[in-house]
Symmetry: C2
């Protein structure tokens, strides 16, 4: 196992179950999750530094200028972004970090951090996504229709991700994501310290 | 999971425990193992079509000419190679196939089958490899010295492999290899059927 943590980006259709998957990964396997910065106002129950880092417009733009964000984007009057420091601190401690972000942000991450692993979560079928969105009972029919249309558009992004994981049975999906992230640690690029140690070790003795 | 099997090449230093690992992968997880063709004479107890396909020189060279080998090499008067048909049949049935071959053969496979996954098995240290080779009690001191020297030379090959797995605790190593091979099925390249199905599915409904 490499000592440095791995960045894993998790995206997927609204209703695919990303939030639950990420929560399980944290609880069961000790992953860290990045906390986004945003300029929108806190909703009831949201705590600064826990759910988001709430920022003024000026403070957010200063973070952009100082290159303190790994990715950011503006949506409907508000900025959202991923502060770099917290993620880097976790990685250096050998903790794998999950970024649960939307697709454009994911591509920004991949461009700037090519070693990041992009995982796309999809329900097994359209019918299942529809059933889940309807089953929540929290959104009206037109919101659901809008999300399904957006999902149809987002299909094109799947080709940009490193791994596609189906969320059919939640536990299986969580296990698959965990195992694929762990397998990244075994990749040659992440085993350079080990290769150097073994090579040195063997060369010294073979003399 | 993609329907087609994955080719996994397993190599490593003599004494790293490859044979045992492959045997466990077959017994515990149902992998198929390719059977090599060779021109050397069968040793006591070796069965044609089980341990090797035993071939005459002429028959082997005909296999080369007819492109029936995935890789081959000549060692000390004898040919060794991997017949293609058996492997392809397994892959088409969705069975993952392991090729336990040495490093030059592994690189031939990667060149001809870039989708193959190359896994290098290493003991945790030189001392451990030495202890294992000595502990076997089957080889004299000069054979062991020769193997250790060869291992030192083979270190350079690690940089050519996709994954480096340490065989410290056997069970952990077997699990790691299995999980990394399974994660390959989740890679975008292996999920093309799923991506096409989901995209079609969603586009049809979004109209």
């Amino acid at each position: 196992m490499s000592k440095r943590g791995v960045i894993t980006v998790i995206s997927g259709f609204s209703g695919a179950g990303k939030g639950t998957i990420v929560q399980r990964l944290v609880e069961q396997y000790g992953y860290a999750v990045s906390i986004s910065a945003t300029t929108r106002a806190p909703r009831e129950g949201e705590v600064d530094g826990v759910h988001y880092f709430f920022k003024t417009n000026e403070a957010f733009e200063e973070m952009i200028r100082h290159n303190e964000l790994m990715e950011y984007a503006g949506y409907v009057d508000h900025y959202y972004g991923t502060p770099r420091d917290y993620v880097m601190q976790q990685l250096e401690q050998g903790i794998d970090v999950i970024l649960e972000i939307e697709m454009q942000g994911a591509l920004q991450i991949k461009e700037r951090f090519p070693e990041a692993v992009l995982v796309f979560i999809t329900p097994p079928s359209y019918e299942e996504l529809q059933a889940r969105l309807t089953g929540r009972g929290t959104e009206g029919a037109d919101v659901i229709t809008k999300r399904l249309h957006r999902a149809a558009e987002e299909c094109a992004y799947m080709e940009k991700y490193d791994y596609i994981v189906v969320n059919d049975v939640l536990e299986d999906c969580v296990t698959q994501v965990h195992q694929l992230v762990q397998s990244i640690h075994l990749k040659r690029e992440h085993q350079q310290e080990l290769i150097a140690k073994i090579s040195r070790d063997f060369a010294d003795h073979a003399r």
